[in-house]
């Protein structure tokens, strides 16, 4: 039996975030929270392989009680079990403290119900750090394949998996032993459109809730803000760009405007050599 565990995060939909021009604060009003898109594809991949091999998919997330919505969405896609790890002590965790909590939870699940593949999205769209996946893998001493675009083969008898991952310049096909951790690009699998019974089941599903004391205990010194090596020193808004000179073909003629523009471009240091043209 195949057992996949997927670690997900509920995030504010960053495509909807705006800045208040007067106060420079984030406007959170009307910003929906969603299941991190890369995580959704990771869940889809886990479910796809569960359906091929038989077995089950467990979802974990560390977050506020409202993250139940995202867990239900994973159940809707076909996951079987969902765990919400939620407690005040976890608040303010950076990626290091987060990977500590998640790795402890994965360990606890694994002890009772051994895991073959540990899925993450490649990064969360609110922080874009891409660190939690590799972090958890290191803590658990698992091989990690990041930026996975395709799972080619999962062999439960011979205990290996073949995964295609994307690097900057090419794709690599990597074989690792099970269990393996992977972080997923969107290409890994398409989001399934759930059947109505699956959807209805998910709407009624109540995830297990784990806190800082039960069913497992954590080292309080490693949790939340206290357990985070990094802290936010300050925040601000990106600088506004200032409009440059605008010329008109009406006034300079087409050739005149083109020459003026090229002269200005070539006037920038280093530009002439990039364009292969002298100033």
């Amino acid at each position: 039996m195949f057992h996949a565990l997927v670690s997900i995060k509920q995030v504010p939909d960053t495509t909807n975030i705006r800045i208040d021009p007067e106060t420079n604060n984030l406007i959170r009003q009307g910003v929906p929270t969603i299941l991190n898109p890369y995580d959704a594809h990771a869940v889809a991949a886990a479910v796809e392989w569960k359906r091929k091999l038989g077995g089950k998919v467990t979802i974990i997330t560390m977050g506020p009680p409202a993250a139940v919505t995202s867990l239900r969405e994973c159940i809707e896609m076909g996951a079987d079990r969902a765990i919400l790890i939620s407690a005040r002590q976890f608040a303010g965790a950076d990626t290091w403290a987060t990977s500590y909590v998640l790795s402890e939870v994965v360990k606890a699940v694994h002890e009772k119900d051994p895991i073959d593949l540990l899925f993450f999205g490649k990064q969360a769209i609110d922080g874009d750090t891409a660190q939690v996946g590799p972090g958890v893998a290191v803590r658990l001493d698992l091989p990690v394949v990041s930026y996975a675009v395709k799972i080619r083969e999962v062999n439960l008898e011979e205990r290996y998996v073949i995964i295609e991952r994307k690097t900057e310049s090419r794709n690599e096909v990597i074989k690792t032993s099970l269990p393996t951790a992977l972080t997923c690009e969107k290409d890994i699998a398409e989001i399934p459109y759930a059947s109505l019974p699956d959807l209805v089941y998910s709407l009624r599903y109540e995830p297990e809730v784990w806190n800082a004391e039960s069913p497992i205990t954590f080292d309080p010194a490693l949790l939340g803000l206290k357990g985070s090596p990094t802290t936010v020193f300050k925040t601000g808004t990106p600088e506004k760009h200032i409009a440059g000179e605008v010329i008109k073909t009406e006034e300079l003629g087409v050739d005149g405007a083109v020459k003026a523009a090229l002269d200005k471009i070539l006037g920038v240091e280093g530009m002439a050599s990039i364009l292969g043209v002298q100033k």
Binding site: L196, L199, V200
Partner: protein, 440 residues
């Protein structure tokens, strides 16, 4: 829970809007097993209006409304008409007196927020909400509707009675043959709106509102629609202002204008621009209003089916009523469904008591009374162009006619009307308009 179990309910409501969630709440409260099937990500995510909600209808569903802390914006403490000319404004507004009722008659609201809450209240009454699911057809047995088909695999849901509150694009109602025809371009308006973020204190200052417990809801006529049959509006939320304009579809097409440019033109009007200056666009949207009312009303029931709200063309275009009709009709539909369950009879004949219920309320009376309004506007295409501008000129002249013989002033005022429309025709317009709204 067994995933293979047949999905069966006592009542299916199609659409978690104002009407649907009201119907679901009433039916669930009586102990029926109710499912609301909603196509949006969440209840409210597809719903859009100007606008204001009417307190009487909310209280009718939840007498303990205020304890439930509804997410309303400001109460409407000033309302009425603004008449725009090219560069001027005449206000005919009411505040205090009858408007200062307890509770206040109307509240400004934002539908995505309100409808999510409204559906949650139905859920608390026991209704089961199935979001992200589109109803595409009906399940029929012996010619009777016994459930709905959705766009999902194994997507059938069964119930002996289905309440359709699908909104203005009533494809399901049409599919059942209940609607005689699709929406018509001359009796439906496209309304476009921008929701603009402005600090509450600025809103209070600009609109002359005492505090955040005072709000304004205006219908704006005249230059706003460039002479097309249509109306503008402006509503104050707590820290946002809704500005919009609605024009009949036919007129929009004939004029060949882009609705969002018409809206921008209204927002740029010298009397409107200062009210929203410095504001930030929070959301843009558009929706069709089924202004045909009575004339476009489909058959409201058939075997196993009831129709309510926009899907049933329950809109009073002149009074901007629609949400309250939708809510009350939803309640009437639910009561009918409850009665049908008691009688165990879901035939059209049994469900015909829905019509009786509606007849007893303001809904049918009002819709009948205003049945000729869209016809009037169609046959008097200049009505919205001429009179608001005239009012501006007339009052403008009246209040600036210093140092002139007053007899001449009145002649000038009269001429500013007759230049636009011969006197007899103008009198005819007014009489016809009066007859239309009185319902003769």
């Amino acid at each position: 829970m067994d995933k293979n179990q047949k999905l069966e309910f006592d009542v299916i409501v199609v659409g978690a809007g104002l009407s649907g969630s009201a119907a679901a709440a009433i039916a669930a409260r009586s102990g029926l097993k109710v499912a609301i099937v909603e196509r949006g990500q969440n209840p409210g995510s597809k719903n859009y209006f100007g606008g204001a909600l009417y307190t009487h209808s909310l209280l009718e569903i939840y007498p303990d409304l205020w304890d439930r802390k509804p997410p309303l914006e400001r109460p409407v403490t000033e309302t009425g008409f603004w008449f725009l000319s090219k560069d001027g404004l005449v206000k005919a507004t009411v505040q205090g007196g009858k408007v200062n009722s307890n509770p206040i008659d109307a509240y400004v609201a934002l539908r995505a927020k309100f409808d999510a809450w409204w559906a949650e209240q139905a859920q608390k009454e026991g209704a089961f909400i199935i979001p992200k699911t589109l109803v595409v057809d009906f399940i029929r047995e012996n010619g009777k509707v016994v459930g709905v088909k959705t766009d999902r695999d194994q997507g059938d849901i069964y119930a002996p009675v289905v309440i359709i509150t699908e909104g203005v694009n009533n494809l399901l109602t049409q599919k059942l043959g209940l609607a005689k025809h699709d929406i018509k371009g001359d009796s439906a308006a496209l309304a476009v709106k921008q929701l603009i973020s402005i600090p509450a204190a600025t809103i209070n200052a600009r609109f002359g509102l005492t505090d955040n417990d005072h709000g304004l809801a205006m219908s704006v006529m005249g230059d706003v629609s460039m002479g097309l049959p249509g109306l503008g509006f402006i509503y104050t939320g707590v820290d946002c202002v809704s500005v919009g304009v609605g024009v009949t579809l036919e007129a929009l097409r004939e004029a060949g204008i882009k609705p969002y440019e018409l809206l921008q033109r209204y927002m740029n009007h010298p009397m409107i621009a200062p009210l929203i200056a410095g504001g930030r666009l929070m959301e843009y949207g558009a929706h069709i209003i089924p202004e045909g009312g009575w004339k476009d009303m489909p058959q409201l029931y058939t075997d196993g089916v009831l129709v309510a709200g926009d899907a049933a063309s329950m809109v009073n275009a002149l009074h901007w009523e629609g949400t309250n009709m939708a809510i009350v009709a939803g309640k009437c539909a639910a009561e009918t469904a409850i009665e049908a369950h008691q009688k165990k009879d879901f035939s059209a004949k049994s469900l015909s008591s829905y019509r009786t219920r509606l007849d007893k309320r303001f809904i049918m009376t009002d819709l009948h009374q205003y049945r000729n309004l869209s016809h009037f506007l169609k046959t008097h295409p200049d009505f919205m162009a001429i009179y608001p501008t005239f009012i501006n000129d007339a009052l403008g002249m009246f209040f600036t006619g210093f140092g002139k013989p007053k007899g001449q002033l009145y002649k000038d005022i009269l001429r500013s009307l007759t230049d636009r429309r011969p006197l007899l025709k103008a009198v005819g317009d007014i009489v016809a308009f009066g007859r239309t709204i009185i319902g003769i």
